[in-house]
């Protein structure tokens, strides 16, 4: 039928090209932001030095190489990976729950993670041969994962719709926040210091090990998300409609929950509570490329990565000599960005 509608098909194809270009643009912006993140700091490098330090570490002096490779690179890359994980998880969450307010933060995953971390820190858990940091991360991971499954079971027992999920999620947020407050109340001075790291969210403790684990998980999960892009797109048009077109909605939703819980739990485990990204990145992606999930999912992941990368940069230059916890900065950086995109798009509901 192409011969009957040549212009419409051409318009469609040029729209597809436009969306691909937007994705490419996001990748470019992210790379640039990561590079700037590596260059800026107490010891400022020229772009040439930075490129040389990255491409051929042996060509620059040992100190420069150390700063770039051991401090700034993991920090910058971790920001991008955590942002990407939260962005992707938020996008899937808003689709399967059909609610623009859904995010890892609003459904209690982050709070559960913080509670898990606080358990390990305040109760002073030690296991021989396991560094404390990994133990804390592990505890946060287990709690965040359990909270998602608890939510899933609760909703399945009651046969509730997506509204029930959101309400149960809000209940979880408040419960875990109260529990974290309780842990803070009984914590010792030292443990409290440590705990603040979790509740405010910080990238400064990144190592190549944690970075590798998160990046690996993101790399493994993303293809599965993309493979579910068509059914997820159908789900956006209504749960009944997707089911009537032959999509096994409960199965799709469960698979998506597994991906979301892995991504969020890992992100929370390593860097603590970072809100806002998972909520905002999907909205930005929707404005930029629409809701065809083949583009929407990667766009949300890239937007999340880009915003957190910018936030990480601001966190280091905001107060000279101090790295402000990233969780504080994300909202400050993200909200103007968010408002511009939402208000420019005409102001209608997503």
């Amino acid at each position: 039928m192409t011969r009957h509608h040549p212009t419409i098909v051409q318009t469609y194809q040029s729209a597809m090209r436009h969306r691909s270009l937007v994705l490419a643009g996001l990748v470019g912006a992210l790379m640039l932001s990561i590079l700037v993140d590596c260059a800026v700091g107490p010891a400022a490098f020229s772009p040439a030095t930075l490129v040389r330090a990255i491409v051929a570490p042996s060509a620059v002096d040992a100190q420069t190489s150390l700063i770039v490779w051991q401090i700034r690179m993991p920090y910058a890359l971790m920001a991008a990976c955590v942002g990407g994980a939260l962005g992707l998880a938020g996008a899937e969450m808003q689709t399967i729950l059909a609610n623009p307010l859904a995010s890892p933060f609003t459904l209690g995953l982050s709070a559960a993670g913080a509670f898990g971390a606080s358990l390990a820190i305040v109760l002073g858990w030690h296991v021989s041969f396991v560094p404390d940091m990994w133990l804390t991360a592990g505890s946060a991971f287990v709690c965040a994962t359990l909270s998602v499954w608890f939510l899933d079971v609760l909703v399945r027992l009651r046969q509730g719709g997506t509204g029930t999920v959101i309400l149960c999620g809000v209940a979880l947020v408040f419960s875990f926040q109260a529990l974290v407050a309780l842990m803070q109340f009984v914590a010792t001075e030292d443990a409290l210091q440590n705990l603040v790291f979790w509740t405010l969210g910080s990238l400064t403790r990144t190592t190549w090990g944690t970075l590798g684990l998160l990046a690996g998980a993101l790399g493994c999960i993303f293809p599965f998300s993309l493979r579910a892009a068509w059914p997820l797109t159908t789900l956006r048009m209504g749960e009944d409609r997707a089911a009537s077109l032959g999509v096994d909605v409960p199965c799709l939703r469960r698979a998506s929950l597994v991906r979301i819980s892995l991504l969020c739990a890992l992100a929370v485990a390593f860097v603590g509570v970072i809100g806002f990204i998972g909520l905002v990145a999907p909205h930005i992606a929707r404005r930029l490329v629409g809701e065809d999930h083949r583009f929407y999912l990667p766009a949300s992941m890239l937007s999340g990565a880009f915003i957190l990368s910018l936030a990480a940069l601001v966190a280091r230059v905001l107060v000279p000599g101090v790295v402000v916890p990233t969780g504080i900065v994300t909202a400050l950086v993200g909200i103007p960005f968010f408002l511009v995109i939402v208000l420019r798009g005409g102001g209608d509901a997503p």
Partner: protein
């Protein structure tokens, strides 16, 4: 001796329970033949939607639903949707997705492939052309009117090439223009494609004049099934809807039902 299975869709001893409450029990309906539009009528809460959802496989039900002699019950949902497709009452949500992408998503929803070929786009465009909204292909669903979205939803369903189409109140959210448009479209496609088309309606006159068959549902069982003139009698309407009604014949041969009060 050979036994030829009945052509069309047949519902046999169908039962549906919500928890402990039985909504439908022992329903026999049909046969609904190919190439005919059949209206399912009944008051609110009489089990129309439940019947259609159970037939479409969206609800767990006992009994059998056969299409041309093949029992649909044991088929997994994706396969079942290829035979018999249920369209929900809710219009497609106004999301930021253009109509052509919505068509492609419906086409690929149960498949593994991720890229859409030119043939896919051509097939989708042909379907949009049939439904009369080819010019809206690159418009986003959130910019369309309810009627246009309903047509897009129909195009999605027809694009899946089912043999039976079950529509749950497809006209209830539409203005008179789109009610007539959608109805005319359904009649044409039903004849051309030889579909078994079953639609839930509230508009008695639409059922009387524009449908080939009518099926009256009362308290979870079929009270009358046959040509609309035979099924929609004042007595039946009195039993089912608790209304007093008169059937008149107009000058142009059209019949119309006027309600004169409640019982």
């Amino acid at each position: 001796m050979t036994h030829t299975p009945p052509a069309g869709l047949v519902v046999n001893n169908l039962g549906v329970r919500y928890g402990r409450r039985s909504v439908l029990a022992g329903v026999h309906a049909g046969p609904f033949p190919h190439g005919a539009v059949c209206a399912v009528l009944g008051p609110n809460g009489s089990g129309k939607s439940t019947l259609l959802r159970a037939m479409g496989g969206l609800l767990r039900a006992t009994g059998a639903v056969t299409l041309d002699g093949v029992d649909l019950a044991p088929l997994p949902l994706p396969l079942r949707a290829q035979h018999c497709l249920y369209l929900p009452q809710a219009l497609p949500e106004p999301v930021r997705l253009n109509v052509l992408d919505a068509m492609l998503a419906a086409r690929h929803a149960t498949g593994r492939q991720s890229a859409s070929t030119t043939e896919d786009i051509d097939a989708a465009m042909a379907c949009l052309h049939d439904v009369g909204i080819a010019h809206l292909a690159t418009r986003s669903l959130h910019e369309l009117s309810g009627g246009q979205r309903q047509l897009a939803g129909l195009a999605q369903a027809l694009g899946r090439k089912p043999r039976a189409l079950l529509l749950d109140e497809p006209l209830s959210a539409l203005d008179p223009y789109y009610q007539q448009t959608v109805m005319a479209l359904l009649r044409r496609e039903t004849t051309q494609r030889g579909l078994v088309t079953i639609i839930v309606l509230h508009d008695l006159n639409m059922a009387l004049n524009q449908c080939d068959l009518a099926c009256l549902l009362h308290d979870g069982h079929i009270l009358a099934y046959g040509s609309p003139t035979d099924a929609l009698t004042p007595e039946n309407l009195r039993t089912v809807y608790r209304i007093q009604a008169r059937v008149d014949e107009g000058l142009n041969g059209q019949r119309f039902i006027s309600t004169t009060g409640v019982v």
